[in-house]
Every structure is written in C-alpha cells, then in structure tokens.
C-alpha cells in the first residue's frame, strides 16, 4: 500500500480559445499514492462541484493508455514525468508529499484551448483525412498472408502504428511541429505493400495539410521523441522526408 500524500495543484483555467487564462491553486489532502493522475483530478472535481464551483475541464477516455485522449502538461512535461506513459498511466506515488504540481494544457497554435486543460486536436483528424488511409474496395477481406511482408518491415510498420495521435509531440516541440505524428502515420502505411501505391501522394498531401493548419517544421531537437508516450522514433521523420523528396522529384 502506498502512503497518502498532500500537495498543491496549480491548474490552468481558461474559458475559451480567445479568453485570457490564469492559474488556480488547490490544496489536495491525503491523496492515496495508488490514485492515478486523472482519478486525482476526478477527486478535485467532485470537491469543486460539491462546493457549487465549475470543475476543471480535461480530456480523457480509455484511461489505459491507448486512446490518445488524455493530454496535460505536468510540471513542464507532456504526459508528465514518466517515460513511455500517458497522463492516465501516471500514479500519484511518483510525487512527493508537499510538492507543487503545475498542470497546463497542450500549448500550440495548432491546438486552440476549448476550456481549461482541453484543447481542440481536430487538426490531426484533418491531416489524417488528407491521406492517412489506404483506398480499397470494401467487402470481404482476403486471406491472411496472401501478401507476404518481411518480418522486419512488419515490425517497423507496427512501431510506427503505435502512435496514438495524442499530440504530445506538438506540445513538446519549440516549433509546434506535428512531424513526429505525421511521419508515424505516413510510415505505418508507406512501409506496407498495401500502402505503396499511394505512398508519395500521401506524404505530400499530409505534409501540405500539416503546414496549412499552422504546425511548424521539424527542428531536429528530438524533444518529440523524448516525450512521446509511445516512444515513436524520429527515424520516421527521416523516412517521411525521403518520401517527400521522392514525391517532389517526380513532380
């Protein structure tokens, strides 16, 4: 059993994308160490509602690290202090009694704040709609292994596909670049035979959409890779750049 801790929360409050935001401070008392970070916010919100106040708005869904909905900049890190874990997988035992924990939303031009800690990440959906798919006829699937794929390629595609589209890469980047996300989504398809016919078109279309929506370009800082909850590698960015150059040369 983990021991209980008491700490101070500094949480960003903001009413809308154009409103001026500020930090609210809350004292949390006797929170069990095995409370998850989001459960801790649930406790805070239940407290706020019981006092007739508005709860802190934050995104969440599966709470098991696969949906990509939870976000939160905790003490200066997207998804908090853990490596290879989302905010929902962080437990309060990581923090010390008496700590001050600062919680902010993703801050990037591409992700306007909806309210408090919730940001609008629909830009990622628009990038996916620009080319993050394989055009096929619908109907019954073919037999498994009808198309042979070498194991190392399948593994690489699978690693790229582990991206959950949470946007931590954008939040971590000093240039607000979505290159790690775009490159992972392009790679998971371009590496596989089914994705090859549209590979170059895809790389170009998704990058163009990324630029159009106000995301910056890659700075080679690798902050995205360091903060990615799924440890997606920037090798994908190099692959995306090669696909992009090939596409441009073909034009």
């Amino acid at each position: 059993m983990d021991k209980n801790i008491s700490f101070t929360l500094k949480i960003w409050r903001q009413n809308g994308p154009k409103e001026k935001g500020h930090f609210d401070t809350f004292q949390m008392k006797d929170i069990p160490g095995d409370t998850s970070f989001l459960e801790m916010l649930d406790i805070l919100n239940e407290q706020l509602v019981s006092e007739g106040k508005e709860p802190v708005v934050f995104d969440h869904d599966c709470r098991e690290g696969i949906c990509g909905m939870c976000s939160l900049y905790i003490n200066g890190h997207p998804h908090g202090p853990a490596t290879g874990a989302t905010t929902c997988q962080i437990y309060m035992r990581r923090f010390q009694d008496g700590d001050t924990i600062t919680v902010e939303p993703w801050r990037s031009a591409g992700f306007p704040v909806i309210k408090d800690l919730m940001v609008d990440r629909s830009a990622f959906d628009k990038i996916m709609q620009a080319g993050g798919y394989v055009s096929v006829r619908t109907g019954a699937p073919q037999n498994a292994n009808a198309i042979l794929i070498p194991k190392p390629i399948a593994d690489e595609a699978m690693d790229a596909a582990s991206c959950i589209g949470c946007g931590a890469c954008v939040a971590a980047c000093k240039n607000g670049s979505a290159m790690l996300f775009v490159s992972a989504k392009v790679s998971q398809l371009n590496l596989l035979p089914q994705g090859k016919p549209e590979a170059l078109k895809r790389a170009k279309a998704m990058l163009a959409k990324m630029d159009e929506l106000g995301f910056g370009n890659c700075t080679n800082t690798r902050a995205c890779e360091a903060e990615c909850p799924k440890c997606v590698s920037i090798t994908n960015i190099a692959r995306l750049n090669r696909d992009f150059i090939r596409a441009k040369l073909k034009d």
Partner: protein, 196 residues
C-alpha cells in the same frame, strides 16, 4: 469486448462506402428542428433542477445498483428490487441533480448528465429484459434456473426468441416487448457442454 474494439459485420461497410455520395441532409428539415428542440428542452430542464447531487455521485449509485441486483447472477426477487431502486435513482436524478456552470459553451457536467440519463434508461431496459426471461441463457445466470450440477438451465420451450423492447416515449412507462422467434434450419440447437 466492451473496450473499444469493434468489428463491423460485412454488410455495414459496403453500405457506409456508398453513403459518401449521398448529399448532406439540410438542417432546415422539420425533423431536424424537432430533434433540436427536444435536445434543447432536455438541456433546459436539466439545468433548471438546481439540486444537490453531482452527476458522478448519482452515476456511482446507479453502478452499485446494477452490480448488486442486475449483475452476472440475478434472481427474480433481486431484479424487482433493482427496478424499484432504479426508479428511485431516476427520481433523484430528476429532482436533486446539480450541474454547475451554464449551458452556453463547453460544460462537461451537462454532457455527463445527458449520458447518465441514457444510462438509467439502459439499466432499466436490462433489468426488464432479465426479468422477462425465466431461464439462464448466455453469459448471465438466473439463479432460480440451474441444473442439479449448478449449470445454466435454458428454457427453449418458452424463451426461444430475440427480445426487442419499444421505448414508450417517456421513462415513466415500461417498454413494450416484441418477440422475434429464433428459427434454425440447418442446425439442431443444443446445450453447450464442456464436460463430456
């Protein structure tokens, strides 16, 4: 799995693929105006309750009732008690719900309240259906209906149908049951047995 892994039946994606060519419906249609007004009225009503209980606390109580009385193992007596308790929860939701903030802009408590309203209706539906079926069938166990060895005892004589319940437009009225008989032509229906 109730965990977000959904598999589409083959007919649906073929249907959906064609939908891309169907033009968007106009929001000027009378059906749209009616649906929008119904949602607006619901929101106005929820915001006007001004009670004391948060959405989450009522949701938690609902969860305990479902777990206790409408769980994996259920009995006629328990289901009846559960239904009575669900009515109490509905009353508490309707009279003692508290939603902070306003209905303008993002309000997650209002969002949750609208869903909780559906969860209560869904909970009642499950209880009604479980009560209707005097047999142990599928993943659930009506404790009165078991074999001497404690296995699930199905009653194909009386319950060989798929249930469809019609909502009566209000949560106050019990839904109406329609039965679709199960007809198997190629196979003989048997009891599953892992023992022999």
């Amino acid at each position: 799995m109730a965990d977000g892994y959904f598999v589409l039946p083959y007919t649906i994606q073929n249907y959906l693929a064609d939908q891309i060519t169907v033009p968007r419906f106009s929001t000027d249609l009378p059906e749209f105006a009616e649906a929008e007004k119904a949602v607006q009225d619901k929101i106005d009503h929820l915001m006007s309750i001004h009670g004391k209980e948060s959405v989450d606390s009522i949701h938690k109580k609902l969860g305990h009732i479902m777990w206790e009385y409408v769980g994996m193992g259920r009995t006629e007596e328990g289901l009846k008690e559960g239904l009575a308790k669900l009515k109490e929860i509905r009353k508490e939701f309707e009279t003692n719900l508290f939603i902070p903030g306003s209905k303008e802009g993002m309000n997650v408590e209002l969002d949750k309240a609208i869903r909780l309203n559906d969860f209560i209706t869904m909970g009642e539906l499950i209880a009604y259906d479980a009560l209707n079926r005097n047999e142990s069938c599928g993943g659930h166990f009506r404790e009165e209906y078991q074999t001497e060895e404690g296995e699930a005892k199905r009653d194909d004589e009386n319950y060989f149908y798929v249930s469809c319940w019609e909502y009566q437009g209000t949560d106050e009225k019990a839904p109406v049951l329609y039965k679709e008989p199960l007809v198997y032509e190629a196979i003989k229906v048997q009891t599953r047995n892992y023992k022999s």
